[in-house]
Every structure is written in C-alpha cells, then in structure tokens.
Amino acid sequence: MTPSEIIDRATFAGLLDNLGGDVDFLGELVETYLASSPELVAGIQQAIAAGDAPTLQRAAHSLKSGSASFGALAFAAQCRELEEFGKTGALAEAQLKSAALAEVYAQVAAALQAELHTARRSPA
C-alpha cells in the first residue's frame, strides 16, 4: 500500500481543518499517537495470548478510535474487527486477525509521519 492508500487524505485534511489549521497541534496529536500506539498493539497481542478478552476489546477500541481520526481507515477497520472479537470472546479469530498487526501499524506510522511532513510544508 502507498501512503495515500494507508491514510485517507480527506479525513486527515478534515482533522486539520477541525483543529483550525493548527499544524503544531496536529503534530502533537500525531506524536501522542505514535508514542501510545505500540503499547496498544503489544497490549492487543498480549491480551490474546493471555485469553483476556475485555483488555483486547478496550485496547483495540482505543487504537481503532485514534487511527480512524487520522484517516488510517483500513487499519481502524482491522482494529474494529479485533475489538468485536474481544467483545464476543472470539480469541482464535483474533489471533489470526492480529498476526500482521505490528507490521501494518508500522506502515500506518510511517505514512502518518509522511502526511504530517507534507502538511507542515504546505502553506496554511
């Protein structure tokens, strides 16, 4: 996937718009996302391994919500599925679905940094 397929440009631009074009604050949000998401990704995998469905549900829920707000829609959809598995206790399905989660997240993180970089260079 190219960065433009990983991050939905319209959603990303909408977020910046909602922030009144404050790229610095957008940057803070992105940094916070990048700082907190690895923990959530790891949390999801640990919860599946430990058979802890509620923790899986919550971690996937947060990661879905954060990812969706930046326009990482495909990743958010994957997280939403995991959240649903956590809710229903379908841990075996969750295990399958989460196999490549860290790799997908790494792509999202890279794409997001690229989008932020572009936004910073664009005239306000």
């Binding site: 977020l15 909602n18 922030l19 009144g20 949000l29 916070t32 919550r58 919500s65 954060g66 707000s69």
Partner: protein, 235 residues
C-alpha cells in the same frame, strides 16, 4: 444569545481522545478538567463542581456505565448532565446509557460543530433546570419567611437574594421584605416603648387633684360616715 460556558469534566482512558476534546472544548470557551478512568472521575466529581460530564464508556475497572449509575443514584448529582462519548458502531451502548439517564451522545471522531451544538444544548437545558430549581427554592424561602414572620423570628436579610431577582418573584420578595421590615420595626418600637415605659405620674398634680376631691365637703362628710354606711350593708 451568548453561548453558555461551562465547567466540563472529560472522562476517557484514551489519551488521544482527551487531548482532542480538551482542545475543542477550550477553543469553544469552556473550562475543562480531565479524568483518565472511572475511579478518577468519581473522585473529581466528589471534590469539584461541574456543569457537564463527557463520559467514555469502555474503560478498565470502573467503566462509563458504573460512573453513570453512581451519578444517577446520588441525589446531589442526579441532575448533572452526562454526554456519552461513543463511536457510531456502539449504538447499543449509547441506547443503554440514555436509558440510564445520560442526556445525549457524542460520536467519534469528534466534529467541532456537532460538539458545540450538543454541549450548548445540554448546558442551556441545565441552566434552565438550575433556574427552575432555584426559583422553587426561593419560593420556598418566601413561604418560610412568612411562617417565620408568624412565629416572630423573621430575620429581614433572609430574603436578600430573592429580593435581588429581576422578575415577579423578586418583586414579591422585595414587597414582603419591606413590609416585614416595617412590621419588625414597629414591633421593636413598641417593645422599646414598653421597655422605656416608666409609668410617669406627675405626683404634685395628682396630689392637688386628690386634694381637690378629698377636701370637698361631700368627701369629708362621706369619709366620716363611711363606717355607718358599711354597717348598713354588712349586718
């Protein structure tokens, strides 16, 4: 109409949500406090005074349902409005929260215009309810003042804030207060009068008037015969 600004408690365990909501709400002029989970939220609600709570549902340990239940079971906080934060795919949770007494819900991702509209409507409703509650309380104060007036222990300044209202109730409060003050003043003046009531008798003038009577021929004659007259009646 000027938008109402409120003190808002945001409860969400996800840092990104807290950041975004804080930023959006502060941009709209509200005062924002943040709680990272249900336990912290309950502590802050006990310690502080808020106009509105923005409440996430999925949280570890004490979740949004639990916070909502505790708020609605607390008579002092039952009327504090709660807006549930929710993704659009969790409508069954939203429905459950509204059933438990939540005022409204706010979908994620956050839209500033929708946020402004929902928060504004909620605060306006709360303001009206607060006014209604205050109105009823002040009506009760006037009736209590009337009872105190009857019992004689009315304190005039007990209606100061009712009298300060610009509406008809304020008018009633002012008129009542003024009349009560007049009555109290009159009673105090009377009490003072009695306190000062030295039964003043001009002794010299009294003596001269007594003398005028007792020196009369009729009185002298009567006095000399009074023993005989009584005998007529008593024997």
């Amino acid at each position: 109409m000027m938008e109402i600004k409120g003190r808002i408690l945001v409860v969400d365990d996800y840092v990104l949500n807290r950041m975004q909501l804080k930023r959006a709400l502060e941009t709209q002029g509200h005062t924002v406090a943040l709680a990272e989970d249900g336990r912290q939220a309950l502590e802050m609600l006990n310690a502080g005074d808020y106009d509105l709570v923005l409440l996430d549902i999925l949280m570890p340990e004490i979740d949004g349902f639990e916070v909502l239940t505790r708020l609605k079971n607390d008579p002092a906080r039952r009327d504090l409005p709660v807006i549930v934060i929710s993704a659009l795919d969790e409508m069954e949770n939203v429905v459950r929260c509204i059933g438990m007494g939540a005022e409204d819900f706010l979908p994620k991702p956050f839209d500033p215009l929708l946020l402004r509209a929902r928060i504004g409507a909620c605060l306006e409703k709360k303001r009206l309810r607060d006014q209604e509650v205050e109105y009823l309380q002040q009506v009760a104060r006037v009736t209590a003042a009337a009872a105190a007036m009857e019992a004689g222990d009315f304190t005039p300044d007990s209606l100061d804030d009712v009298a300060a209202r610009p509406d008809e109730l304020g008018q009633l409060g002012r008129v009542f207060q003024r009349m009560a003050q007049e009555v109290v003043a009159r009673e105090q003046a009377l009490k003072q009068q009695v306190h000062d009531l030295r039964i003043q008798v001009d002794e010299a003038r009294k003596a001269s008037q007594v003398a005028e009577i007792t020196e009369s021929d009729y009185f002298q004659q009567l006095q000399s015969r009074v023993g005989d007259l009584r005998k007529i009646l008593d024997t």
